[in-house]
């Protein structure tokens, strides 16, 4: 049984006031709040287990290693990967994409090869590929999106070709909420021998993910958008691909043997985890996954869909307000502009009402260009939001109207 009020008590920050009003946190697409289970897991680690991992014979080091590796197993099961060797801890989705661009990309691309991304990508899934193209002479191609924020039908088919080596596609758009047909894209890409990186940063907290069923080659996400800590994220890669890729960074932990003449590398996943990792973060992420699975992603998704439907209905009835991103089946976010009021001003006024939303380009400037807006206001929803909070958002938007358009 999904009980939002009971759930909210698991998130201490939701008790706080902002400018003398109860916090209405509608910015979970930027980062989610953290439940007690996650806060306690990090605390427990530092209070009772703290030691460096993989390198001590003493009890604490062993226990810390077990906890860290236990978190890897949780991640593996959470995204349905076959092997723990395929789960690499990174700082976040951004670092995971950069790892692939660097390690896989420099080895695999020749001048004239093509990388295909979409117009709705986050900068994290644009810029690393641009850098890679600069370094290798590969060409970046962009799948266009339509007026509602979906990939233009047929465009993927038309653009995937014999020179396509990699397709980088977001599963859920952070600026628009669009859900992309990634399984179809993977099938099309594999037909021409291209690999696919799926950016799951906005997807993992909203829908169950199974990387084996998707058959994607790489999958990335960040812990902090999944009710976990900042500074920890995940790269999933198919083992055969990861085996062939050179290390990304050099240092401790990623080696088997070092001499000044020759260094041999550690096995997967450690080959890609140079240096002391964010041990507490990984353990916190493991706790977040346990927490989310205990609640049930299906129940969370249903709840969030209700919130989004309620918000969309009110937005449509609100004169002067235009939603940006209305693709069928979208999830999680309501991006909008208001006639006569810049999003930045909306953000400031809402903040004084205790309502936290994001305003700006959402690290997706090409999306802003596509819809010819300088920025949007974006409310995003998580498991702990309520219908009452959606109503508070629209009450606050009425205040914006009063102040600006009276």
């Amino acid at each position: 049984m999904f009980e939002v009020e009971a759930l909210r008590r698991q998130f201490p920050i939701l008790q706080r006031q902002v400018h003398g009003r109860p916090l209405v946190y509608l910015d979970s697409a930027a980062t989610t709040q953290k439940p007690l289970a996650v806060i306690e897991a990090e605390r427990h680690y530092y209070e009772t287990l703290n030691a460096n991992i993989h390198r001590g014979v003493h009890a604490l080091s062993q226990e810390a290693t077990d906890a860290f590796e236990g978190a890897r197993d949780k991640v593996r099961a959470f995204i349905g990967a076959a092997r723990r060797e395929e789960i690499i801890f990174t700082r976040g989705a951004t670092e995971a994409i950069n790892l692939v661009a660097h390690s896989w990309g420099r080895q695999s691309l020749a001048p004239g090869d093509e990388i295909l991304i979409s117009e709705m990508e986050h900068h994290a899934n644009i810029v690393p590929w641009q850098l890679l193209c600069e370094a290798t002479g590969a060409i970046l191609k962009v799948i266009p999106i339509d007026a509602r924020g979906a990939l233009v039908p047929g465009a993927v088919d038309a653009m995937i070709g014999p020179r396509t080596r990699l397709v980088g596609i977001t599963q859920v758009s952070n600026a628009l909420g669009t859900v992309n047909p990634v399984a179809d894209i993977v099938r099309q890409a594999h037909r021409v021998g291209a690999v696919v990186l799926v950016d799951g940063a906005q997807a993992v907290a909203h829908q169950p993910v199974d990387v084996v069923a998707l058959d994607c080659d790489f999958y990335v996400f960040s812990g902090h958008k999944l009710y976990g800590p900042t500074g920890i994220g995940v790269l999933y890669g198919k083992q055969a691909l990861l085996e062939r890729m050179p290390p990304y960074q050099g240092g401790g932990d990623m080696i088997a043997q070092v001499t000044f003449e020759k260094t041999t590398y550690n096995s997967l996943p450690y080959k890609f985890e140079a240096g002391t990792p964010h041990i507490a973060g990984a353990i916190g992420l493991g706790a977040a996954i346990d927490f989310l699975q205990h609640i049930g992603l299906d129940a969370v998704a249903r709840h969030e869909d209700r919130l989004l439907a309620h918000a969309t209905q009110q937005a449509e009835a609100f004169e002067g307000l235009t939603c940006v991103g209305t693709a069928p089946g979208k999830v999680g976010v309501l991006s909008f502009v208001m006639k006569g009021v810049h999003p930045h001003d909306i953000g400031t006024i809402l903040d004084r009402e205790g309502v936290a939303i994001r305003t700006g380009h959402h690290c997706a400037m090409p999306v802003m260009d596509r819809y010819q807006v300088p920025a949007t206001a974006r409310a995003s929803f998580a498991m702990y939001n309520t219908i009452g909070e959606v109503d508070a958002l629209f009450r606050a938007l009425r205040r914006v109207e009063e102040l600006f358009l009276k």
Binding site: H344, R399, L403
Partner: protein, 146 residues
């Protein structure tokens, strides 16, 4: 709400809705672009400077109410000022929006004093002024608030 009214004074709404000195300037001899990547505000400033005096000032672009009003008010304040006087105004304005005391007489620009209570908006208010600095130096790179 009272502090919101401190930020969004009537004069600011007025300049936001009806920006003064808005548009291109054919006779300009100095230009600069300003950009606030955080919120997507962009503006282009055109100046006609003769013998060290700003004879004309106009701007174009799209931004939030604070940056638009600030640019509009700035162009009004600049016309007829020497470059040295403009620099003094910028310094005084900067002190004001940072919540610091200034002895500079800011005239109408003082309506933006409320910005100091909204740290996230200081860059909106100063974008036009940073762009002015660039225009006076005739910098070719767009200035950014970041």
């Amino acid at each position: 709400m009272s502090d919101l009214r401190d930020l969004y004074q009537e004069v600011i709404f007025d300049h936001n809705r009806h920006p003064r000195n808005f548009g291109p300037l054919a006779t300009a001899n100095r230009h600069a672009d300003g950009f606030n990547p955080l919120c997507g505000d962009r503006l282009t400033l055109h100046l006609r400077v003769e013998d060290g005096v700003i004879r004309e000032a106009r701007f174009e672009g799209a931004g939030c109410a604070i940056s638009t009003a600030s640019a509009s008010l700035m162009t009004e304040a600049l016309i007829g000022k020497s470059e040295a006087e403009a620099a003094v105004l910028f310094e005084g304005f900067h002190h004001m929006v940072m919540g610091e005391i200034t002895s500079v007489d800011l005239g109408k620009l003082a309506v933006l004093a409320g910005v100091s209570e909204f740290p996230a908006r200081v860059k909106c208010a100063t974008l036009a002024w940073h762009t002015l600095n660039a225009a006076l130096k005739n910098a070719s790179q767009p200035v950014s608030t970041e």
